[in-house]
Symmetry: C2
Subunit: 240 residues, 2 copies
């Protein structure tokens, strides 16, 4: 019997959804035991491998921890490490109101570095969108996004002002965002950035260069961001 999913969602994702909801709604707290593979299999009428798949990939996300011979438990909420999220999503996951001010938005043809990061010829038409991001009334970061203008015609006419760029891409352009490779280093605020972010010149900033890929591995967007080190810190998990 091939399990029929009324909505086309795979069974293991449906199971994950149930568990996630129970954690988010406070029914399950960090440290609590999650149903075992065998119990989940019975409850959701799936095979062991499917229940296992659900738990294994929740563990990879850091939502639960599994211990052989003992069980599966809700993990301490270390924020969503290694999770690709838009600025809007990040802020709302911290219960902050995200704000954004567009400083620059035009199509250019001399953004060589951005074009290279997007695997495009040097003089391609590139959308450049520079935004000052703030939260709780304070400047937070300066982010510049670059996209292939040929691939996203009319993007600058979309309500980026109101809406999340991730949302526009996923909803209006049917892009499936997959993963992002990021390079992180530290740098000192130059005069312009210092003024924009309301911090002293030469203050240390976190600089993140991010190339966002579709699920199929095609580069979609290059983002260069400068983050106030006193307002931001990055959380990641590395595996051995």
């Amino acid at each position: 019997m091939t399990a029929k999913n009324r909505n086309g969602q795979p069974a293991y994702q449906r199971i994950q959804g149930v568990i996630r909801k129970r954690i988010d709604s406070g029914q399950l707290h960090p440290g609590d035991a999650v149903a075992s593979e065998r119990d989940l299999a019975k409850i959701h009428q799936v095979s062991l491998m499917t229940a296992r798949h659900a738990l294994a990939s929740l563990e990879r996300e850091g939502i639960v921890e599994r211990r052989r011979g003992i069980g599966t438990f809700v993990a301490a909420p270390k924020i969503h490490f290694n999770k690709l999220m838009s600025y809007t999503e990040q802020m709302s996951s911290r219960s902050l109101v995200a704000g954004s001010k567009v400083l620059f938005a035009k199509v250019l043809d001399n953004e060589n570095e951005a074009a290279a990061r997007l695997s495009l010829p040097p003089t391609s038409h590139i959308i450049k969108l520079e935004r000052l991001r703030h939260a709780a009334g304070e400047p937070f970061a300066l982010e510049t996004c670059y996209l292939n203008a040929a691939e996203f015609p009319g993007l600058l006419d979309a309500p980026i002002w109101r809406d999340s760029l991730f949302g526009v891409l996923e909803r209006d352009y049917k892009v499936e965002l997959g993963y992002a490779d990021e390079e992180v280093d530290a740098t000192a605020a130059d005069p312009r950035i210092a003024e924009t972010l309301s911090i002293p010149r030469r203050d240390p900033l976190l600089r993140i260069r991010q190339v966002i890929y579709s699920t199929k591995g095609r580069p979609i967007m290059y983002v260069l961001g400068f983050y106030r080190s006193d307002r931001h810190n990055l959380v990641i998990r590395r595996f051995r």
Copy 2:
């Protein structure tokens, strides 16, 4: 038939090893196709799920990329993102000779913050090991490790001077390192760090606070590191 592994290594790991070796040795180059799930299953005499497991977790490590309907391909070598490696391992993966100078090595009992990060009482006996790391003759980073003295008696007598701390822990103390949670931000060099690293005061530095856990989720070591931003950059991958 339960596949017998002559050495106790799971079949999927053996398959991964074969693929890794073929990539490392130059038999397979980035972009080349890897054998399909079905081929691997035949070649290694395992079931489809096992061959699949091997490829799926290689993909999670960024070694290969899989595309539905097309195949599995060797990924571009973006360095080992999200991979927990010792300084020695990192350097050697970049073909650099790692050097280290111990600046401080003692057991203390007033390292409250480190104790807290290790989930120990505030005044626990804590090993503090401060090392200046260099490569290619240049100072590179200042790293301070903290460990539970009760758990690693005699550690300071081990040949940390010569050997990798990771190596000592894994070999002599039978610790299985599992993962690390890291907080990254930017900071300015204070006078002492500036002098130690041979850089101007107030230069931006990458600061990384790292808690390393065993495979069973027990905190093993807390590492506070300051990295010269002109010599270091951190590469990570985030998933949606």
